[in-house]
Symmetry: C2
Subunit: 158 residues, 2 copies
DNA sequence: TTGTATGTTTAGTCAATACTGAACAAAATG
DNA sequence: CATTTTGTTCAGTATTGACTAAACATACAA
């Protein structure tokens, strides 16, 4: 409704566009973070964001696939309700950090190819491998610490 | 040269394409990680990767701007030499992780807009904020630990 | 059944971008 | 000076992808 809120939604969308999420999908995310009530039908999204039905249909599907939002069935209504999936951001960060291990694997593959080459030739890859291995290990622990803190902390979300 | 190496370079490029780096730029990166010698001229890159001069010129510029590679002046030659920037991967991870703070800021902005709204409406944003704040803080420490370990460790790169 | 509300799929438009060949620029060498 | 080597810029092509309107499908309501 308010102009400020719309501005926020745009900023939200922009930030997530940089992370590879389509503009409209980002707007849906941003809106679902601040709207009242937190569950919204597809038509409400169309209305609030000024996007087409088709776009909302496609992007909600995408966001559901990405586990960022979820469909909420509502008895007495056959409309689809959407909301931010509880725990989404935590999972997103977790997956993002876990994705770093791809690069460790990559470095490993390269090193295997250079087994018979003079050792200094593998220096670049070893540095890369060492870095990603360190973070893969440590981030695992960091995440556990976060979840433990959250369980023990004030309000648990789910 | 070897077919295996080319396959590795392709895989490397593919992995970094997922991170938003153009295919050819990724190939340059991959090649510079395993080539011998580690510094290569533009024409060597053209030759090794089968890309056009124009592409190599554009993509090397991009990679230099991204601080992933660097131009190395070489006395006695007016050709441009390129190599992986020492410490690149470390810096890349560091910046990537530092980028998470954008989302904390984002959540803050949203919360400010909801100041006058009933508190439960800010619940989604508070959860998000709390998460990113935690990681912003902890990752800072984690990185320090990595650098300290590296300095103290076996071979320092730069 | 017919009508109405809702969501998905399709076809097509528009914009962005990765890439190339060719023209151009700059500088060293003969 | 002209020639050769090297790199950049420009113009054009092809691909991808986000988005929309319109057609279609589904299911409830009268």
């Amino acid at each position: 409704m308010s102009d400020n809120l719309h501005h926020f939604v745009e900023e939200f969308a922009l930030a997530y566009e940089a992370a590879g999420i389509p503009r409209t999908a980002g707007r849906i995310l941003g809106w679902l973070m601040v709207c009242d009530p937190p569950e919204q039908t597809a038509s409400q999204l169309v209305e609030a964001l000024g996007a087409s039905k088709a776009s909302v249909s496609t992007m909600t599907r995408l966001l559901v696939q990405m586990h960022l939002i979820e469909r909420v069935p509502k008895r007495g209504s056959r409309q689809d309700y959407f909301r931010i999936r509880p725990g989404t951001w935590s999972e997103r960060v977790k997956n993002g950090l876990a994705g770093l291990s791809v690069y460790k694997t990559l470095a490993d593959k390269g090193l295997r190819l250079l087994e018979n080459a003079p050792p200094e030739r593998g220096e670049r890859l070893r540095e890369m491998r060492e870095l990603y291995a360190f973070f893969e290990e440590e981030l695992k622990g960091l995440f556990e610490r976060y979840e433990r803190k959250k369980r023990g902390g004030s309000d648990a979300i789910q």
